[in-house]
C-alpha cells in the first residue's frame, strides 16, 4: 500500500483537518511506515473467526424507560459563548 500526499489530504478533508504542507509530508511518511509495519497482520489466518466489537458480551443492556430530570436550556448552553435566543449558534450551513 503506497501512501501519497493526495491520500493524506483526502483523509484530512473528511476528518475536517487543515494540514500544512509540512504536516502533509510528515503524516504521509508516518502513515507509510506504520502501515508497512502493520502488514504483519496479513500472516494471521482469520477465516471463520468472528469480530470482537467488545471484549466481553455486552449485548442488549437497557434501562427502564422512565423520564428523568434532564439539563435545562440554560445549563445546556452554559459552556459556550456561541448562543442566541436559547439556541446554539453555529456557522452557516448553506
Amino acid at each position: 500500500m503506497n501512501i501519497d500526499p493526495n491520500l493524506i489530504k483526502k483523509i484530512a478533508s473528511v476528518s475536517r483537518l487543515n494540514l500544512t504542507d509540512k504536516e502533509t509530508e510528515k503524516f504521509t511518511s508516518d502513515l507509510q511506515n506504520i502501515l508497512d509495519a502493520f502488514k504483519k497482520l496479513d500472516e494471521v489466518d482469520v477465516s471463520n473467526i468472528p469480530t470482537a466489537i467488545h471484549p466481553i458480551d455486552v449485548k442488549n443492556i437497557t434501562r427502564d424507560d422512565i423520564p428523568k430530570k434532564c439539563l435545562s436550556n440554560e445549563e445546556a448552553l452554559e459552556n459556550t459563548t456561541l448562543k442566541k435566543d436559547g439556541f446554539f449558534k453555529g456557522p452557516r450551513s448553506v
Partner: protein, 474 residues
C-alpha cells in the same frame, strides 16, 4: 500514609478534615510547581466538601476526607475538564462522572485534574495538548512519568499523605505510568467500572481504575467505584466483591503462568532480572509457576490495538468542533471551514496523526483489510487468553520492556517506536482483562538501574480483580 490509617485518624479525631485539607492542598501546590502533575486544581470543591463532612457520620463513610486526584479525562462538575487537550479549554462539566460521584458520596475530596497525553494518546505524557505542561518523573526530573495517566502516577508516588488517584486505561495507561513511578495501578475488567462521564478515547477499550502507593488503597477505591451503572450501556451486572477481603487471603497453591515471549529481544536486562526475582519471591510464598508461551498477543497486539483504538478515536473526536463547549472561534465560513479551522488550531500533532490513521483504516476499500481484520485478530487474542485461564490463576510479564526513559531519548523516537513501548499492555486491554502493576523495585533496590522503578504486570481472567489484589499485596 495508607487510606485506612487516615480513616482511623479521622474517626478518632486525630485528623481534622478541614485543617488537613488546607494542609495537603498547600503541599499539592508546591509539588505541582516542581513536577507539573495537575492541569487544574479543584481547591474550592475540596474545601467545600470538607466543610460539608462536618455534619456527616464519618463511621458510615468509606473515604471520609480522603484526598483523591482525577485524570483530566474524567468529568468533575464545575471543574475545568480537558482530557489534556487545548480544544476543551474552558469546558466545565455539568455533572460528575459516576466514579467521581461514588467517591464523593463516600467522603472523598477531589483535589484536582491530573496531567495526561491529550485524549490519552501516548505512553510518556509528552503528547500533552498545546500549552499544557509535561509531568516529570518523581525519581528523576529528566525522565518521563509514563502515560497516559502520568500526572496521577507521579503525584501518587510523590505524596506523603493518604491519597489515591482515578486513572484511565485504553491500552496500558494505568499500569505503565504506575510502573514508571513505582506505584500500584489497577485496571479493572472492561465494564466493571462505569465509564459515564469519561471523555472517551476508544469506547470498547476504555476503563477507569485506581492508582496508589498501596494495594490496599486500590482495593478500597475499587470497592467504591465498581458496579453496574444504568448510565453506561456497557457497564456489567456481574456482582462486585469485597476486594479488601483478598488482602488477607493466602497465595499458596495459586498458579501463575510466566509468558516467555515477554522476556525476549528488546526487553531491558534490569527489567527481566527484577521480574524474575519477583516470580521467585512469589514461589517462596507458595505460588506455583510455569513458563508458558502466549505468542499471538505479544506478536500482533500492537498492530491490532492501534488499528482498533485509532478507528474508535477518530469517530469519538468528531464531536469536538468548537461550538457547544471548549474552544470556539469567530463564526466565519461554512460548517466545514469553521470546524476544520477550530480542530486544526487546537488538536496537537499526535491527535491529528491518530485521527488520520483511524479514518484511513475505516475508509471504504481499506476497512476490511484493517479494521475488520483487527477485530477478528482481537477475537483470537481473547480466545488465547481464555484457554490459559483454564489452567492459571494469573499471567505475569514485565509492565514495560524498559525502565522510564529520559525525555532526551523519547524525542528521537518515531511514532511507530513510540507505539511499540506498549507491547506488554495492549493485549490485556484488547481482551478487556483486569491487570495490575506491582512495583517490584523501589529506589535503591534495583540492582542494575538502582534509581529507577520497575513493575511486574499481573493479568487475570475477567472479573477476577480479587486475585490481582491477593497476589499483588505488599
Amino acid at each position: 500514609m495508607k487510606i485506612s490509617e487516615h480513616i482511623s485518624k479521622v474517626r478518632s479525631g486525630e485528623i481534622d478534615i478541614l485543617d488537613h485539607t488546607h494542609k495537603i492542598l498547600d503541599q499539592t501546590k508546591k509539588i505541582n510547581k516542581e513536577y507539573n502533575y495537575f492541569n487544574t486544581l479543584s481547591e474550592d470543591l475540596a474545601i467545600s466538601l470538607a466543610k460539608q463532612l462536618k455534619n456527616s457520620d464519618l463511621e458510615k463513610l468509606r473515604l471520609p476526607g480522603v484526598p483523591i486526584s482525577i485524570k483530566d479525562a474524567i468529568c468533575v462538575k464545575g471543574v475545568e475538564t480537558t482530557a489534556g487537550s487545548k480544544i476543551l479549554k474552558g469546558y466545565k462539566p455539568l455533572m460528575h462522572a459516576t466514579t467521581v460521584q461514588k467517591s464523593i458520596d463516600q467522603g472523598a475530596l477531589p483535589i484536582g485534574k491530573t496531567a495526561q497525553d491529550a485524549f490519552g494518546f501516548g505512553s510518556f505524557s509528552v503528547n500533552v495538548g498545546i500549552g499544557f505542561k509535561i509531568p516529570k518523573n518523581p525519581f528523576d526530573k529528566e525522565r518521563t512519568c509514563g502515560g497516559s495517566s502520568g500526572g496521577s502516577a507521579g503525584f501518587s508516588q510523590k505524596t506523603k499523605f493518604a491519597h489515591a488517584s482515578l486513572g484511565e486505561s485504553t491500552g496500558g495507561s494505568i499500569v505503565e505510568p504506575a510502573s514508571f513511578c513505582g506505584i500500584y495501578g489497577l485496571c479493572p475488567t472492561y465494564g466493571r467500572v462505569s465509564r459515564y462521564g469519561l471523555l472517551d478515547y476508544g469506547n470498547s477499550l476504555d476503563k477507569i481504575g485506581p492508582m496508589s502507593k498501596h494495594i490496599e488503597d486500590c482495593a478500597i477505591m475499587l470497592e467504591t467505584i465498581s458496579g453496574y451503572d444504568e448510565n453506561d450501556s456497557t457497564s456489567s451486572k456481574v456482582p462486585t466483591e469485597k476486594y479488601t477481603d483478598y488482602l488477607n487471603k493466602d497465595v499458596k497453591k495459586l498458579k501463575v503462568g510466566i509468558i516467555k515471549e515477554a522476556f525476549g529481544e528488546g526487553v531491558d536486562e534490569s527489567v527481566s532480572k527484577n521480574v524474575w526475582n519477583y516470580v521467585k519471591k512469589l514461589e517462596s510464598q507458595g505460588v506455583e509457576y510455569e513458563e508458558i508461551s502466549l505468542e499471538l498477543p505479544l506478536k500482533y497486539g500492537i498492530e491490532t490495538y492501534y488499528i482498533i483504538a485509532c478507528c474508535e478515536a477518530s469517530t469519538n473526536l468528531a464531536k469536538y468542533c468548537g461550538m457547544r463547549y471548549g474552544q470556539t472561534d469567530k463564526l466565519e465560513g461554512g460548517f466545514n471551514e469553521y470546524f476544520a479551522k477550530v480542530r486544526s488550531e487546537n488538536f496537537n500533532e499526535e491527535t491529528k496523526r491518530r485521527i488520520i490513521l483511524g479514518t484511513f483504516a475505516r475508509m471504504a476499500g481499506y476497512r476490511d483489510a484493517y479494521y475488520i481484520k483487527a477485530l477478528k485478530i482481537r477475537s483470537k487474542i481473547i480466545q488465547e487468553y481464555k484457554k490459559k485461564f483454564k489452567h492459571f490463576d494469573a499471567l505475569i510479564t514485565p509492565t514495560s520492556p524498559i525502565p522510564p526513559p529520559k525525555f532526551s531519548e523519547i524525542k528521537d523516537l518515531s511514532p511507530l517506536e513510540h507505539y511499540k513501548i506498549d507491547i506488554m499492555t495492549v493485549s490485556p486491554n484488547l481482551a478487556g482483562l483486569p491487570h495490575l502493576n506491582v512495583p517490584i523495585t523501589s529506589k535503591h533496590s534495583s540492582e542494575i538501574n538502582p534509581d529507577l522503578p520497575i513493575g511486574a504486570m499481573l493479568t487475570t481472567d475477567h472479573f477476577k480483580e480479587g486475585t490481582l489484589i491477593q497476589l499483588g499485596k505488599e
